[in-house]
Structure formats: C-alpha cells, structure tokens
C-alpha cells in the first residue's frame, strides 16, 4: 500500500486529539477566532488543519462527503485507514470536505429537522488563507463584533436566517482554522 496513505496520523493520539478537539470547540464557540493546530500530515490537497479536524471528528459512524478535487484515491485511503469513516453522498453526509466552489450547490446538505436540529452537516472548507478581516460577525460567543474572511456573505446570511436549522462551517488554511456556526449573524 502507498506509504502516503498510512503516514501522517497523530503521533500521540490521545494528547493530539484532545488538543485538536479543544481548538475545534473553541473555534466554534467563539466564531471569528483563529486557532493553530498541528499533528496531522495528510496527503495533498488536504491541509494540515483539515487533516486534524478529520482525525479528531470522524469515526466509522460519521459519513464523509468529498467534493471536487478532494475526491481522490490518496485522500480516500488516508481517511479510511486513520478514521474508518464511510464515504457518502452530499445529501447524507455529516462532514463535507472541499473548496468553497466544489461544495456548491449548498442546498444539498442536511440542515437538521425541527425536532433534531443537530442532524445537520458540517462543512469543512479548504481556503487559501483564513484571516480575521472582512465580514462582520455578531452573535453568541462574540463580545462585540468579530471579523473573518468569508468566501461568500450571502450564503452564510441565508444559513443564519433559518436558525435553529442550518449547517455549520469550518475554514481551514495550512495549519490555521476558524469556524462559523449557524447562530452567527453575518454582515458584509
């Protein structure tokens, strides 16, 4: 088997995963904050931060959808070896992975139901860079306002408008990650 598929997992899984989970949780709890994560070395085109999120959040019970260029043999093999997560269609996925363009159309993803709003997808968006500038964020977890470089303000505004339904998003670039939950109000 290709060594690239087998390499690049957490060196010390309990410690690395706990640190990564803390970063992922803080990013989602405080939208607009940027966290640096380490530990994973996934094959291209996955970034380190995306790899860390996958290793931390995915297991055999979470369906993963790979969009566009991310749907390649190396990425599939790497995710299978390290997490055992099954690959599913966009309509059934718990986690969707890809660039912002590849993830479109966004109405494919689950937004939960009124009884179970948690049965929704989390988008992991691969970006060239994640910076604390651009769109203005307000809402839970933000003291006054925060700023985050979003790919598209209108889509996130529409997503926030159907709260408590909707999907959540992580943005990853190299080893930096930020998040935008559905509860955050976005203004251009």
């Amino acid at each position: 088997m290709d060594a690239a598929v087998l390499n690049g997992g957490f060196g010390d899984a309990p410690i690395d995963a706990a640190r990564a989970f803390r970063a992922a949780m803080q990013a989602m709890a405080r939208p607009g904050t940027i966290h640096e994560v380490t530990g994973a070395e996934p094959p291209a085109p996955l970034s380190t931060a995306t790899g860390v999120l996958i290793l931390t959040l995915c297991d055999p019970e979470t369906g993963v959808h790979l969009a566009g260029g991310h749907d390649c043999a190396e990425v599939r093999g790497w995710i299978t070896f390290h997490t055992g997560a099954p690959f599913v269609s966009a309509e059934d996925c718990d986690f969707a992975l890809g660039t912002w363009e590849a993830l479109h159309p966004l109405d494919r993803f689950r937004i939960g139901t009124a009884q179970y709003p948690d049965r929704s997808a989390t988008l992991i968006v691969e970006r060239a860079e994640v910076r604390a500038e651009g769109a203005i964020l307000t809402g839970p977890g933000i003291r006054d306002t925060a700023r985050l470089s979003l790919p598209d303000v209108a889509a996130f505004r529409a997503n926030a408008s159907r709260f408590p339904l909707g999907w959540d998003a992580y943005f990853c670039a190299a080893n930096r990650l930020a998040a935008l939950p559905r509860s955050t109000q976005v203004e251009g």
């Binding site: 088997m1 060594a3 087998l6 390499n7 997992g9 060196g11 899984a13 070896f81 390290h82």
Partner: protein, 146 residues
Amino acid sequence: MTEMTARKDWMSLLAKAPPKALAALWDTRETPDFTWLRAPEIGAAMVRGRMGGTGAPFNMGEMTVTRCSLQLDGGAVGHAYVQGRDKAHAERAALVDALMQTDAADRVRAEVLDPLRADMTERAEARAARAAATKVEFFTLVRGED
C-alpha cells in the same frame, strides 16, 4: 497458496496466539528498527457467528482487540489485530507481519511461525482430548409406540 491467503493465514495465527508463546519465540531475536504508523490501541470488535455455520449472522458478543501498524526502516508495512489488551503482543505480531514481507521471511517462518503453529495445535489437541474423555454417548431404545 496465494500471497493474500498466505498473509491472512499468518495474521490469523498471530491474532489468536497466546502472548506468552509469541513472546518466548520472539524475544530471542533482535527487534528491527521501525516507525509507528498507528501506535497500539485497545478497542472492542463485535464477533459475529452463524448458527450451524450456515444460518443468518448474529452478534455473538464483543471481544477486546488490540491493533497497531508499523513500518520497518526497509519500507515493509506490518499490521496486527490481536486478541486481548497486550500492546507488546500487538507490536510483535505487526513486526512478524512486516518481516514476512521481506527477505527474512523464511527465517521468521521457521523460527517463529512454525513453532508457534505447532504449539497452538498441540494445545488445541490436548484440550480436545480432555474434552473427549468426558463425552457421553447417548442412544435411544426402541420404545415400541406403534
């Protein structure tokens, strides 16, 4: 035997081997240099069975399994899934699996796998013999019901 079934065969042997028996055979050898791909981790696996070996599958119960993957410095990759919670046992099993894919295969087979298989067959036969001694033969008398 094809390459796949041969590997399946020795991985199955290592998975079921008693840790002490493998340790006794292995620890006389020098451990080759390797890197972890997946450090030993303990989990549970659901064992499924079929009634009579042919019926519909049912869940028999969970068993504790330790797994690990490693890569020798030569490039060979070894995997191990062994019963129980012995991480050192999983490491030895993965090393044997990796070495069986290298030039050292014949030596490993002769020095580790064959004695291990003989040992396990002997244990199984001894146990079967003990059980056979307690076997009761039932037979039915004609009851003349007609």
